[in-house]
């Protein structure tokens, strides 16, 4: 129900943004729908200011560090299953095996994933998703989008995100209340972990929209190459 209302708000704003967007010409080839995206960005900034950021700040202030760590670990453990599968799809059999080992260790010794015992044992955490897998397979970025709620995604990563979400065990919890609580807590925990970056972005960016867009594109490129992207020669 709330989602529906947010959605209609988004459509209304998009219509307005689309109209005003015509007045300015954007010409970034990576971002052909910049007018639409900027409107969505404004929507998200609004939601963030009135709801998400205050909630995240409250959570950050109230929850003691062990609780926050436990929450992050718990959802991280669920994600590791999907990471393992994607590592396998990318041909990284060793990493996939290590991820499976992580899930086994953390679910049992780590009491349902609350403690990340595997990292202490030297099984390094990876983060993979279908967007990265498709990227590794050679699928290009496609046009950049800024979606309400979920934020920046390339076209490829948007499709990846749909599959990631469809495969996400949290969305398959039968009890609706439990499911919604879990989705909510995970989202707020994620937002809280980004709080320290807020000030840096506010100060560093001349135009927050394009700063975030360019940072997202660089970050995803790095992720697809597992942190070792070929260095671009930039002296031109």
């Amino acid at each position: 129900m709330i989602a529906l209302r947010v959605f209609s708000l988004v459509i209304a704003t998009a219509a307005m943004g689309g109209l005003s967007g015509c007045a300015t010409t954007y010409n970034n080839p990576k971002d052909p729908f910049e007018g639409f995206n900027r409107a969505m960005f404004a929507v998200n900034e609004g939601i963030d200011t009135v709801a998400l950021k205050p909630l995240a700040k409250g959570y950050d202030a109230v929850a003691p560090l062990p609780v926050k760590t436990g929450v992050g670990n718990f959802f991280g453990n669920i994600r590791d299953v999907w990471t393992a599968l994607n590592n396998l799809l990318q041909g990284k059999v060793g990493d996939a095996a290590s991820d499976v080992g992580r899930v086994l260790v953390n679910t049992t010794v780590g009491i349902g994933g609350v403690f990340d015992v595997a990292s202490e044992m030297g099984l390094q955490k990876h983060e993979e998703d279908l967007g990265q897998t498709l990227g590794k397979w050679g699928v290009g970025d496609g046009p950049y989008f800024y979606w309400p709620i979920i934020g920046p995604r390339t076209t490829r990563d948007t499709f990846g995100w749909v599959a990631d979400t469809a495969a996400d065990p949290v969305w398959h919890v039968d009890d609706i209340d439990v499911r919604n609580t879990m989705v909510g807590v995970r989202f707020i925990d994620m937002r809280a972990s980004l709080l320290p970056a807020d000030k840096v972005v506010e100060e560093a960016a001349f135009d927050k929209y394009s700063y975030i867009r360019d940072a997202y594109l660089q970050h995803r490129r790095s992720e697809i190459y597992d942190g070792n992207p070929p260095r671009e020669r930039l002296e031109d």
């Binding site: 560090l65 972990s193 840096v200």
Partner: protein, 204 residues
């Protein structure tokens, strides 16, 4: 005679750090990082968000190891060639002020992080290297922090800082290019000056 000898010896001791072997790029990153963290760990004011003190720390310990001309050139891309020497000088000054402030403020977010230095396979004859580190923090996944360095004479200078795959320098490219298209090099310079003034006055 004896006192002259000890005087000369004293002078030699004082002068010797200057002629000491310059650190390799990996050792340099490690030393500067640890020097800065040692101060931050003990300084409650920096930890509680005192930007001025953080900037002072960066000014005294960090900036001499950075090549801001090169950083500015990277951020401007092909527009750099359009700038006059005087414009280049001013652009580099302003961009430096902005980067120092941004970097310093990230220090005020310090909370028990530790830095792990990834082994770098150096042959010893490189002139351009990437040194990798990882910031580890309890309850969060580690953040990759890499430095690109180049050799200038005997010393190594940082010309790019890459956080989680995001170059703090080239992330400005599109914004800067757009501004140069709209208002020329002087327009970009004015934009940088205005932003630094705003930040200086503590208001965004």
């Amino acid at each position: 005679m004896k006192s002259l000898f000890s005087l000369l010896f004293g002078v030699f001791l004082l002068a010797s750090p200057a002629v000491a072997q310059e650190l390799g790029p990996d050792a340099l990153i490690k030393k500067v990082t640890e020097d800065v963290l040692t101060v931050v760990r003990q300084d409650k004011e920096i930890q509680s968000g005192n930007s001025k003190k953080a900037i002072d720390l960066v000014e005294t310990k960090v900036v001499q190891h950075f090549n801001f001309d090169h950083m500015t050139a990277l951020a401007l891309g092909r527009d750099w060639k359009k700038a006059t020497p005087e414009q280049k000088k001013r652009l580099a000054e302003e961009f430096k002020a902005l980067l120092v402030r941004t970097y310093s403020n990230s220090l005020t977010a310090y909370k028990n992080q530790t830095v792990v230095y990834k082994p770098s396979k150096l042959q010893g004859n490189e002139v351009d290297v990437l040194i990798r580190t990882e910031i580890q923090q309890p309850g969060n996944k580690p953040v990759q922090l890499d430095y690109a360095l180049e050799k200038q004479g005997d010393a190594w200078k940082v010309y790019d800082v890459v956080v989680a795959g995001i170059s703090l320098v080239t992330n400005y490219r599109d914004t800067f290019a757009q501004e140069v298209r709209a208002g020329g090099i002087d327009g970009l310079l004015q934009m940088l000056v205005n932003r630094n003034k705003q930040l200086e006055n503590g208001k965004k």
